[in-house]
């Protein structure tokens, strides 16, 4: 049984008669101890999906799903109070900008200990001991003196380590990292990524990594979901999916990596932008930008169907039929 199952998740905003669906028909499963990457352009619904999972979408946003279960519990059926017992404890999240993710009015120690107090009821010396332990786990030097530091006294990298310490405080089964390195210096990025992967291994957590960086996904993830305009365009195993993309969008994403344009005068791009609220096409959402577009694509919206390396949402996948895969089982 998978740890996390999302089936047909939709997140809609705006007036109910004519809602804007930031996420639509989203399917994703995550197994225990697995690293799943989610990639896609800005506005493709990566973060919103995860916010919905965490229960952080406020009215007027509406979350609907056929199934949203975690560790055998149906998250949609839980009361807000019961859900808060899971959020921050079994599912934890790391955000993009560490400099604004920490409350400026409280010390680092307080903010780490708060999680432990609320979810595990730790008090006194034990609490402090555990907080120190966590800070050492995320490799914060001179942890003891940093306990009383305020966030503005820390660098971005240090702050992100504190955020990670907070997230792993209760040994979560699933850690969601929402572009955890986007706001950091390049030199720090690699350190934070290494830290996350090491923690994922040592704690045996599942890790969902939202990122723009395809190289990171290729290197770390077991599987990857490529999102476009609120839907999963393609889902499959790494590195097969990168070698043989079935969806034109995945292919375009890979082609846009600068290394793939070596020698060319200009970098390869996919012209156009992700459709917004008012310019969603009636057929395939990619149809206005797709280089392989055909008549059927403009008329009919494709469903997610099994493909060579996983599943793909395209009428005319680039590799038509599932090819035989040696020894590895195809993920759904």
């Amino acid at each position: 049984m998978s740890l996390l199952t999302i089936k047909n998740l939709s997140v809609a905003f705006g007036n109910p008669a004519n809602p804007f669906r930031a996420v639509e028909n989203m399917d994703l499963t995550v197994n225990q101890g697995e690293i799943v990457g989610i990639v896609g352009e800005s506005g493709s619904g990566k973060s919103v999906t995860m916010m919905a999972l965490m229960g952080l979408i406020d009215a007027p946003g509406r979350v609907t799903a056929d199934e949203l279960s975690f560790d055998g519990k149906n998250l949609l059926k839980l009361s807000a109070r019961e859900r808060r017992k899971i959020v921050g404890k079994d599912i934890a999240m790391i955000f993009q900008d560490p400099m604004t993710s920490l409350n400026p009015s409280y010390t680092v120690g307080y903010q780490i200990m708060e999680v432990l107090k609320v979810h595990q009821g730790l008090r006194g010396a034990k609490l402090k001991q555990r907080a120190l332990e966590l800070m050492e786990m995320v490799e914060i030097p001179a942890a003891k003196s940093r306990l009383d530091a305020y966030p503005h006294q820390l660098s971005g990298g240090m702050s992100q380590r504190v955020v990670i310490a907070m997230a792993i405080a209760c040994n979560p089964k699933l850690l969601i990292a929402d572009e955890p390195t986007t706001a950091l210096d390049v030199t720090i990025q690699a350190q934070i990524m290494d830290l996350l992967v090491n923690l994922q291994k040592s704690q045996n957590m599942a890790l969902i990594m939202i990122t723009h960086d395809l190289a990171v996904v290729a290197e770390m993830a077991d599987r990857v979901a490529v999102m476009y305009a609120g839907q999963v365009a393609e889902l499959g195993r790494v590195p097969e999916l990168f070698r043989q993309p079935a969806h034109p969008y995945t292919e375009a994403l890979l082609a846009s990596i600068p290394e793939h344009s070596k020698g060319a005068e200009r970098l390869s791009t996919l012209p156009g932008i992700v459709p917004g609220q008012y310019d969603r096409p009636s057929g395939c959402l990619l149809s206005p930008r797709c280089p392989y577009v055909q008549e059927r694509c403009r008329a009919e919206r494709p469903q997610l169907t099994p493909s060579a390396n996983g599943s793909v949402r395209c009428h005319f996948p680039l590799i038509a039929q599932p090819v035989e895969i040696r020894d590895r089982k195809v993920a759904q």
């Binding site: 899971i86 934890a92 993710s101 409350n103 409280y106 708060e114």
Partner: protein, 342 residues
């Protein structure tokens, strides 16, 4: 920090000079002098008038008078009232507790109700409660104090008879002032002699309620609006999202993670309201015959009691400056980023 304090204090010198110059000049621009006001409509012998003015030192040229005034100030001498012959400082200290009691009650009312209303309005943004609070606070902010006071007196005191019309305590009670705060004095007196002073405390409280509400209305409106907008701003911050992602209860997210940060700008406003409070006290005390600083200054202006006006206002101005100074220091406590700035 020491340098910062020193710099802040040195800025105060021109401020004080400005206050003295303004009060000295303005009171003398009003037609009539203390002697004429004292004599009233009776005809006054010009020779006697000149002699009286000479005795008070008011016949000297203005620059010389101003110089005398400053010299006295520098010697810590606030002078004495031309009318009562009592020292200004003594009159001030006698009357100030009444104003302080009123202002404190008004501020407590404004802060407690204003913070609560602002926080709830922010959480329930767009609801009927939110629109109601914002509408009422706009009305409260725009309401002339004297009119608002009279309306409340007419309704609660005259029509319903719930509260007394004016003063600090019913004349039936004879209570020796010990602290100058009527609530404390009446409570002490009632405890010392329960039979003679039965109900004194409740009576003092009843006298205080309406003036406090009237005086607190404008600060209340300002605080409620400021709290709401500041809360809304902080609620959008990333760290509030982090707090929610930690699985904290909504109460914890709002009171621990949001309100603390939202309070920083509110604190500024509260500090600035102390000035409004002193200005409002003048009107409120006049309406409710509250024997405090405001009424004292109004009476002094009417009598052209130059030393009282000049020094009374100077003392009040000093108070406001000191309060704002304290607010600056409180900032550091509410906001660690300031505390740690080098």
């Amino acid at each position: 920090m020491l340098l910062f304090l020193f710099r802040r204090l040195s800025v105060l010198i021109p401020t004080f000079l400005g206050v003295t110059l303004l009060t000295f000049g303005l009171i003398r621009m009003i037609p009539g002098d203390p002697i004429e006001v004292m004599v009233g409509e009776r005809t006054l012998d010009p020779a006697m008038h000149a002699a009286a003015m000479h005795r008070l030192g008011l016949d000297k040229p203005l620059p010389a008078q101003y110089f005398d005034y400053l010299t006295n100030l520098l010697h810590g001498n606030f002078g004495e009232s031309l009318i009562t012959r009592d020292s200004v400082w003594h009159e001030f200290t006698t009357l100030f507790p009444a104003t302080l009691e009123l202002a404190t009650a008004a501020m407590i009312f404004a802060v407690v109700v204003g913070l609560l209303a602002g926080v709830i309005a922010a959480i329930k943004r767009g609801s009927i409660f939110d629109h109601g609070v914002m509408g009422i606070s706009l009305t409260g902010f725009s309401m002339p104090i004297f009119w608002w006071g009279l309306i409340l007196i007419m309704f609660f005191s005259v029509k319903l008879g719930w509260t007394p019309v004016s003063g600090r305590l019913d004349l039936a009670y004879d209570i020796t002032p010990r602290t100058g705060f009527m609530l404390i004095d009446s409570w002490l007196a009632e405890r010392a002699d329960p039979s003679a002073n039965a109900g004194a405390f409740v009576d003092a409280l009843k006298h205080l309620i309406l003036p406090a509400i009237v005086l607190g209305t404008i600060p209340l409106a300002v605080i409620a609006r400021m709290t709401r907008s500041s809360m809304l701003e902080v609620l959008r911050e990333d760290y509030v999202r982090t707090a929610r992602a930690k699985g904290l209860s909504p109460a914890r997210v709002i009171f621990i993670h949001t309100l603390r940060n939202a309070l920083i700008p509110v604190l500024t406003v509260v500090g600035l309201q102390v000035g409004t409070l002193m200005g409002g006290a003048v009107l409120t005390e006049t309406i409710f015959s509250w024997p405090g600083i405001g009424k004292w200054l109004i009476d002094a202006i009417a009598r052209r009691d130059y030393p009282v006006v000049q020094n009374g206002i100077l003392i009040v101005a000093t108070l406001i400056i000191v309060v704002n100074f304290i607010v600056d220091i409180l900032y550091g406590i509410a906001n660690p980023r300031i505390r740690h700035a080098k």
